[in-house]
Symmetry: C2
Subunit: 313 residues, 2 copies
Amino acid sequence: MSADLIDKVLNGDPRSIARAITTVENGVDGSVELMKAIFSKTGKALVIGITGAPGAGKSSLVDKLALHYKNHGERVGIICVDPTSPFSGGAILGDRIRMATLGLDKNVFIRSMATRGNLGGLSRATVDAVSILDAAGFDKVIVETVGVGQDEVEIVKAADVSVVVLVPGMGDDIQAIKAGIMEIGDVFVINKADREGVLRTQKELEALLSLAHRPDFWNPPIVKTIATENKGIEDLSTAIESYRAFQSEGEASLTRRQAIARWRLTELLRERLLRNILSRNGTEDTLDRLALEIAEKRTDVYTAAEELLKTQL
Amino acid sequence: MSADLIDKVLNGDPRSIARAITTVENGVDGSVELMKAIFSKTGKALVIGITGAPGAGKSSLVDKLALHYKNHGERVGIICVDPTSPFSGGAILGDRIRMATLGLDKNVFIRSMATRGNLGGLSRATVDAVSILDAAGFDKVIVETVGVGQDEVEIVKAADVSVVVLVPGMGDDIQAIKAGIMEIGDVFVINKADREGVLRTQKELEALLSLAHRPDFWNPPIVKTIATENKGIEDLSTAIESYRAFQSEGEASLTRRQAIARWRLTELLRERLLRNILSRNGTEDTLDRLALEIAEKRTDVYTAAEELLKTQL
């Protein structure tokens, strides 16, 4: 990563930003230098994490929220985490369609993070990409997740404000997910609020929220939106701002940032340790051989792991 | 893990099986001994992975499929992966309700895997739990995922037969997920097949499948079900059996098992390497200190990781 490219990133050049994100996505050596170089320029953007069940209309909501910010003269970056899509082709096409809607200019940047190699590191790469957009001077960085899994929950938790999107009248599985992501929501959205069952979903949500005990005593607001009709977006922006204001007052903010830092550090360690061992001469061959032995039931995975650790460490 | 407990697991004692799964879930030392001891008894069960969008009715489908097998004199184990729920309380309650539906006897076992510590290892623990049920003599082991993320996709891929559940007429996000999990489905289910839009979903699915090129040239069947009315379950069971029969003929089976073994080995390594470093004296304190320094912006996560690796390795 040349100093010139880093300068261009800091000046907000879209192509350089895209290259920088590819660098952290691939986890190549230049990424360490890059992340260290931009570090001092981060911390200004408001990072908004948005998650929720598939079909809840997150993409429309994110697009409308981004447009809202853009119309208020702010620069907005969007990172879309789609771990279920192993190929980036579809994601890139999707980005282009969304770029066309959002307006192709320097004030909006959108990027999907789809690939995850056998080293893991999607969470790490996503949070690094957020830092890049932050350093590049975007006022708001929105992280949107398509999947609903542990990694995605962690990514959204790492934002300054976490928004959970629900939709009226879905099945039992949604209730299960609701319970799981309950504690991460700083703001809740009931999207598609023109649908039947809004009141019921709201009541259920209020009941669940009244049972939750947040360490910071924040009472998460519930916002109703119809993203496709651009309704409720202003309310959502206000709700997000109210949590940001609340958070910047208290001690809770440092505690939260420390927890996020600990998670980022652990994720990075996990990836580094595996990378170290896999990059050694012969490890890949040994892995292949042991995998075959396990497949043929000549050994078990635990014995194989011990053998690998013994010979390679 | 005492030899006595291992014997009880192999004899199918439910309480011992539950204890054994807790052992692998916590990743405590006894789990290695346990997994090595049961290894030679595994490989008999048919492992069925079931995934799909939230709200698709996976739980009902799994329950009805399990009852179908039970009514045919088979013993069925169910592992429900719910990584979005950090607390097991709700999951345990859910298991009890489902146990009541399925019948409380030795022939059905159900267990939710919900927790994931900072070491990761949910995928590893889930696949270990499957091996335990296999060794305990269950004829069918069904792995059901609630979340839809990369980890969950990997877990379902590790089954002998992967079933992807869709539902008619959902939004664009579902289409995105569809594309992502397309390649993992050996059998596709359109559940809630009494709903509007079945034909459209089926046509879309067929179009997507015709574009996919499976290395084993298998043509995944599409089964329509209404799980709540117990309709289509026999067809689903036949479709699963047909893939099992197809798979056991070809070379593809060994290749698939080797790929699964390689993934399991890498996951185990990832967890072991992190555990090794975290278990060293002082690492946890160093992590806390560095996390605070990052939160206070006195250092960045990459520099911190390098410091940790330098002092602890």
